[in-house]
Symmetry: C2
DNA sequence: TAAAAATATTTGTATATACAAATAAAAACA
DNA sequence: TGTTTTTATTTGTATATACAAATATTTTTA
Protein backbone atom coordinates (compact mmCIF):
# COMPACT_ATOMS: atom_id res chain seq x y z
CA UNK A 1 0.00 0.00 0.00
CA UNK A 2 1.20 3.48 -0.74
CA UNK A 3 1.71 5.84 2.16
CA UNK A 4 -0.88 8.18 0.73
CA UNK A 5 -3.46 5.41 0.58
CA UNK A 6 -3.37 4.55 4.24
CA UNK A 7 -6.22 5.58 6.45
CA UNK A 8 -3.64 7.43 8.51
CA UNK A 9 -1.92 9.34 5.78
CA UNK A 10 -3.40 12.61 7.00
CA UNK A 11 -1.53 12.33 10.23
CA UNK A 12 1.88 13.85 10.63
CA UNK A 13 2.96 11.13 13.05
CA UNK A 14 2.30 8.45 10.54
CA UNK A 15 3.74 10.33 7.57
CA UNK A 16 6.88 11.63 9.22
CA UNK A 17 7.73 8.17 10.49
CA UNK A 18 6.93 6.42 7.24
CA UNK A 19 9.20 8.85 5.40
CA UNK A 20 11.99 8.49 7.93
CA UNK A 21 11.92 4.70 7.64
CA UNK A 22 12.01 4.78 3.87
CA UNK A 23 14.79 7.35 3.78
CA UNK A 24 16.68 5.28 6.33
CA UNK A 25 16.58 2.29 4.01
CA UNK A 26 17.79 4.30 1.07
CA UNK A 27 20.58 5.75 3.18
CA UNK A 28 21.66 2.40 4.55
CA UNK A 29 21.90 1.16 0.98
CA UNK A 30 23.89 4.16 -0.13
CA UNK A 31 26.36 3.79 2.73
CA UNK A 32 26.73 0.03 2.64
CA UNK A 33 29.90 0.28 0.57
CA UNK A 34 31.91 1.61 3.51
CA UNK A 35 30.27 -0.63 6.11
CA UNK A 36 28.98 2.18 8.29
CA UNK A 37 25.42 3.04 9.18
CA UNK A 38 24.36 6.50 8.05
CA UNK A 39 24.44 7.83 11.61
CA UNK A 40 27.95 6.60 12.15
CA UNK A 41 28.98 8.03 8.83
CA UNK A 42 27.54 11.47 9.54
CA UNK A 43 29.16 11.52 12.93
CA UNK A 44 32.47 10.58 11.40
CA UNK A 45 32.19 13.29 8.78
CA UNK A 46 31.46 15.82 11.50
CA UNK A 47 34.56 14.71 13.40
CA UNK A 48 36.69 14.95 10.28
CA UNK A 49 35.53 18.43 9.48
CA UNK A 50 35.98 19.58 13.06
CA UNK A 51 38.72 17.52 14.72
CA UNK A 52 38.58 17.69 18.49
CA UNK A 53 34.87 18.39 18.54
CA UNK A 54 33.19 17.37 21.79
CA UNK A 55 30.29 14.99 22.30
CA UNK A 56 28.06 17.88 23.28
CA UNK A 57 28.87 19.69 20.07
CA UNK A 58 28.16 16.58 18.08
CA UNK A 59 24.84 16.10 19.84
CA UNK A 60 23.92 19.65 18.97
CA UNK A 61 25.02 19.42 15.37
CA UNK A 62 23.47 16.04 14.70
CA UNK A 63 20.37 16.63 16.83
CA UNK A 64 20.86 13.50 18.84
CA UNK A 65 21.14 13.09 22.60
CA UNK A 66 24.55 13.00 24.27
CA UNK A 67 24.05 9.40 25.28
CA UNK A 68 23.40 8.40 21.70
CA UNK A 69 26.54 10.24 20.66
CA UNK A 70 28.58 8.31 23.22
CA UNK A 71 27.24 5.05 21.84
CA UNK A 72 28.03 6.00 18.26
CA UNK A 73 31.54 7.11 19.18
CA UNK A 74 32.18 3.83 20.98
CA UNK A 75 31.55 1.91 17.81
CA UNK A 76 33.72 4.18 15.69
CA UNK A 77 36.45 3.78 18.28
CA UNK A 78 36.25 0.00 18.02
CA UNK A 79 36.66 0.35 14.29
CA UNK A 80 39.71 2.56 14.87
CA UNK A 81 38.11 5.46 13.05
CA UNK A 82 38.19 7.93 15.91
CA UNK A 83 40.03 8.41 19.19
CA UNK A 84 38.89 10.17 22.32
CA UNK A 85 41.03 12.19 24.69
CA UNK A 86 39.72 13.56 27.95
CA UNK A 87 40.72 16.80 29.54
CA UNK A 88 38.89 17.36 32.78
CA UNK A 89 35.21 17.10 32.16
CA UNK A 90 35.69 17.61 28.46
CA UNK A 91 36.19 14.95 25.84
CA UNK A 92 37.68 15.59 22.44
CA UNK A 93 37.09 13.37 19.48
CA UNK A 94 39.62 13.12 16.67
CA UNK A 95 39.60 11.23 13.40
CA UNK A 96 42.34 8.67 12.81
CA UNK A 97 44.34 8.50 9.58
CA UNK A 98 42.20 5.51 8.65
CA UNK A 99 39.15 7.76 8.85
CA UNK A 100 40.76 10.38 6.66
CA UNK A 101 41.54 7.78 4.04
CA UNK A 102 37.88 6.94 4.01
CA UNK A 103 36.83 10.49 3.28
CA UNK A 104 36.65 10.31 -0.52
CA UNK A 105 34.50 7.21 -0.34
CA UNK A 106 32.23 8.87 2.16
CA UNK A 107 31.76 11.81 -0.15
CA UNK A 108 30.86 9.34 -2.87
CA UNK A 109 28.26 7.64 -0.67
CA UNK A 110 26.86 10.96 0.33
CA UNK A 111 26.55 12.05 -3.28
CA UNK A 112 25.03 8.75 -4.30
CA UNK A 113 22.45 9.04 -1.58
CA UNK A 114 21.55 12.50 -2.76
CA UNK A 115 21.25 11.36 -6.35
CA UNK A 116 19.00 8.56 -5.22
CA UNK A 117 16.32 10.71 -3.74
CA UNK A 118 16.80 13.80 -5.84
CA UNK A 119 16.60 11.61 -8.91
CA UNK A 120 13.22 10.40 -7.77
CA UNK A 121 11.80 13.67 -6.58
CA UNK A 122 13.62 16.21 -8.69
CA UNK A 123 16.27 18.56 -7.37
CA UNK A 124 14.04 21.56 -7.02
CA UNK A 125 11.32 19.69 -5.23
CA UNK A 126 13.75 17.88 -2.93
CA UNK A 127 15.26 21.14 -1.95
CA UNK A 128 11.89 22.66 -1.13
CA UNK A 129 10.78 19.66 0.84
CA UNK A 130 13.92 19.60 2.96
CA UNK A 131 13.39 23.28 3.63
CA UNK A 132 9.81 22.83 4.83
CA UNK A 133 10.75 19.87 6.93
CA UNK A 134 13.47 21.91 8.62
CA UNK A 135 11.10 24.77 9.13
CA UNK A 136 8.66 22.55 10.98
CA UNK A 137 11.40 20.81 12.94
CA UNK A 138 12.71 24.19 14.05
CA UNK A 139 9.36 25.20 15.42
CA UNK A 140 8.78 22.01 17.38
CA UNK B 1 20.83 24.43 17.72
CA UNK B 2 17.98 24.64 15.26
CA UNK B 3 17.65 21.92 12.69
CA UNK B 4 18.09 24.45 9.93
CA UNK B 5 21.36 25.67 11.40
CA UNK B 6 23.10 22.33 11.36
CA UNK B 7 25.77 21.70 8.80
CA UNK B 8 23.68 18.74 7.68
CA UNK B 9 20.37 20.46 7.30
CA UNK B 10 20.53 20.16 3.53
CA UNK B 11 20.43 16.42 3.75
CA UNK B 12 17.17 14.56 3.65
CA UNK B 13 18.49 11.82 5.91
CA UNK B 14 19.26 14.28 8.61
CA UNK B 15 16.09 16.32 8.21
CA UNK B 16 13.64 13.46 7.90
CA UNK B 17 15.03 11.84 11.01
CA UNK B 18 15.19 15.04 13.01
CA UNK B 19 11.56 15.72 12.16
CA UNK B 20 10.47 12.18 13.00
CA UNK B 21 12.15 12.36 16.40
CA UNK B 22 10.55 15.67 17.26
CA UNK B 23 7.13 14.56 16.07
CA UNK B 24 7.55 11.37 18.06
CA UNK B 25 8.08 13.37 21.22
CA UNK B 26 5.05 15.51 20.60
CA UNK B 27 2.99 12.41 19.91
CA UNK B 28 4.19 10.58 23.01
CA UNK B 29 3.15 13.61 25.04
CA UNK B 30 -0.24 13.80 23.40
CA UNK B 31 -0.92 10.12 24.04
CA UNK B 32 0.44 9.89 27.55
CA UNK B 33 -3.01 10.30 29.04
CA UNK B 34 -4.05 6.81 27.96
CA UNK B 35 -0.72 5.19 28.70
CA UNK B 36 -0.07 3.93 25.19
CA UNK B 37 2.71 4.79 22.82
CA UNK B 38 1.55 6.40 19.59
CA UNK B 39 2.27 3.22 17.60
CA UNK B 40 0.24 1.10 19.94
CA UNK B 41 -2.54 3.63 19.86
CA UNK B 42 -2.66 3.78 16.06
CA UNK B 43 -2.66 0.02 15.86
CA UNK B 44 -5.48 -0.17 18.36
CA UNK B 45 -7.52 2.38 16.44
CA UNK B 46 -7.02 0.38 13.27
CA UNK B 47 -8.24 -2.76 15.03
CA UNK B 48 -11.29 -0.95 16.38
CA UNK B 49 -12.24 0.41 13.01
CA UNK B 50 -11.73 -2.96 11.33
CA UNK B 51 -12.31 -5.74 13.86
CA UNK B 52 -10.83 -9.04 12.76
CA UNK B 53 -8.13 -7.35 10.66
CA UNK B 54 -5.05 -9.50 10.17
CA UNK B 55 -1.45 -8.70 11.02
CA UNK B 56 -0.59 -8.48 7.35
CA UNK B 57 -3.34 -5.94 6.80
CA UNK B 58 -2.15 -3.94 9.77
CA UNK B 59 1.42 -4.01 8.47
CA UNK B 60 0.19 -2.69 5.16
CA UNK B 61 -1.99 -0.01 6.64
CA UNK B 62 0.53 1.19 9.20
CA UNK B 63 3.56 0.73 6.95
CA UNK B 64 5.40 -1.39 9.47
CA UNK B 65 6.82 -4.87 9.06
CA UNK B 66 4.79 -7.91 10.09
CA UNK B 67 7.23 -8.71 12.87
CA UNK B 68 6.80 -5.24 14.34
CA UNK B 69 3.04 -5.70 14.18
CA UNK B 70 3.31 -8.97 16.10
CA UNK B 71 5.29 -7.24 18.81
CA UNK B 72 2.84 -4.38 19.08
CA UNK B 73 -0.11 -6.77 19.27
CA UNK B 74 1.57 -8.78 22.03
CA UNK B 75 1.71 -5.73 24.22
CA UNK B 76 -1.89 -4.75 23.53
CA UNK B 77 -2.88 -8.32 24.35
CA UNK B 78 -1.09 -8.11 27.71
CA UNK B 79 -3.05 -4.97 28.42
CA UNK B 80 -6.27 -6.80 27.52
CA UNK B 81 -7.02 -4.36 24.74
CA UNK B 82 -7.09 -6.87 21.87
CA UNK B 83 -7.51 -10.61 21.43
CA UNK B 84 -6.14 -12.81 18.69
CA UNK B 85 -7.84 -15.83 17.18
CA UNK B 86 -6.11 -18.08 14.69
CA UNK B 87 -7.73 -19.86 11.81
CA UNK B 88 -5.22 -21.88 9.85
CA UNK B 89 -2.42 -19.64 8.79
CA UNK B 90 -4.52 -16.56 9.37
CA UNK B 91 -4.76 -14.56 12.55
CA UNK B 92 -7.59 -12.20 13.36
CA UNK B 93 -7.26 -9.37 15.79
CA UNK B 94 -10.27 -8.01 17.67
CA UNK B 95 -10.68 -5.16 20.09
CA UNK B 96 -11.94 -5.98 23.59
CA UNK B 97 -14.74 -4.05 25.31
CA UNK B 98 -12.03 -2.34 27.33
CA UNK B 99 -10.55 -1.03 24.08
CA UNK B 100 -13.88 0.26 22.89
CA UNK B 101 -14.35 2.14 26.13
CA UNK B 102 -11.05 3.83 25.45
CA UNK B 103 -12.11 5.06 22.05
CA UNK B 104 -13.38 8.53 23.02
CA UNK B 105 -10.19 9.24 24.89
CA UNK B 106 -8.14 8.11 21.95
CA UNK B 107 -10.02 10.47 19.69
CA UNK B 108 -9.24 13.21 22.16
CA UNK B 109 -5.53 12.40 22.14
CA UNK B 110 -5.52 12.25 18.41
CA UNK B 111 -7.19 15.64 18.17
CA UNK B 112 -4.86 17.13 20.74
CA UNK B 113 -1.86 15.90 18.83
CA UNK B 114 -3.18 17.48 15.67
CA UNK B 115 -3.83 20.77 17.43
CA UNK B 116 -0.31 20.70 18.75
CA UNK B 117 1.45 20.69 15.46
CA UNK B 118 -1.19 22.44 13.38
CA UNK B 119 -1.21 25.18 15.99
CA UNK B 120 2.48 25.66 15.45
CA UNK B 121 2.60 25.36 11.69
CA UNK B 122 -0.85 26.49 10.67
CA UNK B 123 -3.54 24.20 9.30
CA UNK B 124 -2.97 24.99 5.68
CA UNK B 125 0.76 24.57 5.84
CA UNK B 126 0.54 21.36 7.88
CA UNK B 127 -1.76 19.90 5.33
CA UNK B 128 0.56 20.77 2.47
CA UNK B 129 3.60 19.42 4.24
CA UNK B 130 1.94 16.10 5.02
CA UNK B 131 0.96 15.89 1.37
CA UNK B 132 4.48 16.42 0.10
CA UNK B 133 5.91 14.02 2.61
CA UNK B 134 3.47 11.35 1.47
CA UNK B 135 4.26 12.06 -2.12
CA UNK B 136 7.94 11.47 -1.54
CA UNK B 137 7.32 8.41 0.63
CA UNK B 138 5.17 6.93 -2.14
CA UNK B 139 7.94 7.27 -4.65
CA UNK B 140 10.61 5.72 -2.49
C1' DT C 1 -3.02 -36.68 -5.11
C1' DA C 2 1.80 -35.99 -3.68
C1' DA C 3 5.37 -32.67 -3.96
C1' DA C 4 6.69 -28.02 -4.50
C1' DA C 5 5.89 -23.23 -4.09
C1' DA C 6 3.77 -19.46 -2.02
C1' DT C 7 1.80 -17.11 1.93
C1' DA C 8 0.96 -15.57 6.86
C1' DT C 9 2.73 -15.25 11.13
C1' DT C 10 5.92 -15.62 14.84
C1' DT C 11 10.50 -15.98 16.99
C1' DG C 12 15.40 -15.05 17.68
C1' DT C 13 18.40 -11.52 17.42
C1' DA C 14 20.40 -7.02 16.45
C1' DT C 15 20.27 -1.94 16.11
C1' DA C 16 19.46 2.91 16.97
C1' DT C 17 17.80 5.76 20.06
C1' DA C 18 16.30 7.88 24.45
C1' DC C 19 15.66 8.78 29.50
C1' DA C 20 17.23 8.80 34.05
C1' DA C 21 20.82 8.15 37.12
C1' DA C 22 25.69 8.18 38.07
C1' DT C 23 30.09 10.34 37.78
C1' DA C 24 33.33 13.82 37.46
C1' DA C 25 34.91 18.31 36.83
C1' DA C 26 34.38 23.37 36.65
C1' DA C 27 32.19 27.59 37.96
C1' DA C 28 29.70 30.45 41.06
C1' DC C 29 29.02 32.00 45.38
C1' DA C 30 28.79 32.95 50.36
C1' DT D 1 38.38 28.92 50.72
C1' DG D 2 34.83 25.57 51.22
C1' DT D 3 30.26 24.57 49.60
C1' DT D 4 26.80 24.56 46.24
C1' DT D 5 25.34 24.59 41.61
C1' DT D 6 26.05 23.86 36.94
C1' DT D 7 27.96 21.43 33.10
C1' DA D 8 29.84 17.42 30.30
C1' DT D 9 29.94 12.82 29.72
C1' DT D 10 29.01 8.04 30.44
C1' DT D 11 26.36 4.04 32.06
C1' DG D 12 22.30 1.23 33.04
C1' DT D 13 18.18 0.19 31.15
C1' DA D 14 14.15 0.30 28.16
C1' DT D 15 11.77 0.78 23.64
C1' DA D 16 10.56 0.56 18.79
C1' DT D 17 11.79 -1.35 14.89
C1' DA D 18 13.77 -4.47 11.39
C1' DC D 19 15.85 -8.64 9.19
C1' DA D 20 16.40 -13.38 8.71
C1' DA D 21 15.06 -17.79 9.97
C1' DA D 22 11.57 -20.88 11.66
C1' DT D 23 6.91 -22.57 11.58
C1' DA D 24 2.57 -23.59 9.90
C1' DT D 25 -0.82 -23.55 6.42
C1' DT D 26 -2.69 -23.09 1.81
C1' DT D 27 -2.33 -23.11 -3.12
C1' DT D 28 -0.37 -24.63 -7.28
C1' DT D 29 1.36 -27.90 -10.17
C1' DA D 30 3.20 -32.09 -12.17
Amino acid sequence: MKTSESRYCKCMYFSANALARKIEKLAVDSWKMIDLSPSHAYLLMAVISEPGIQPGGLADELQLTPSTITRLIEKLEEKKLVVRTTDGKLTNVYPTPKAKELQPKMKECSARFYENYAGILGREESYKLVESINKLADKL
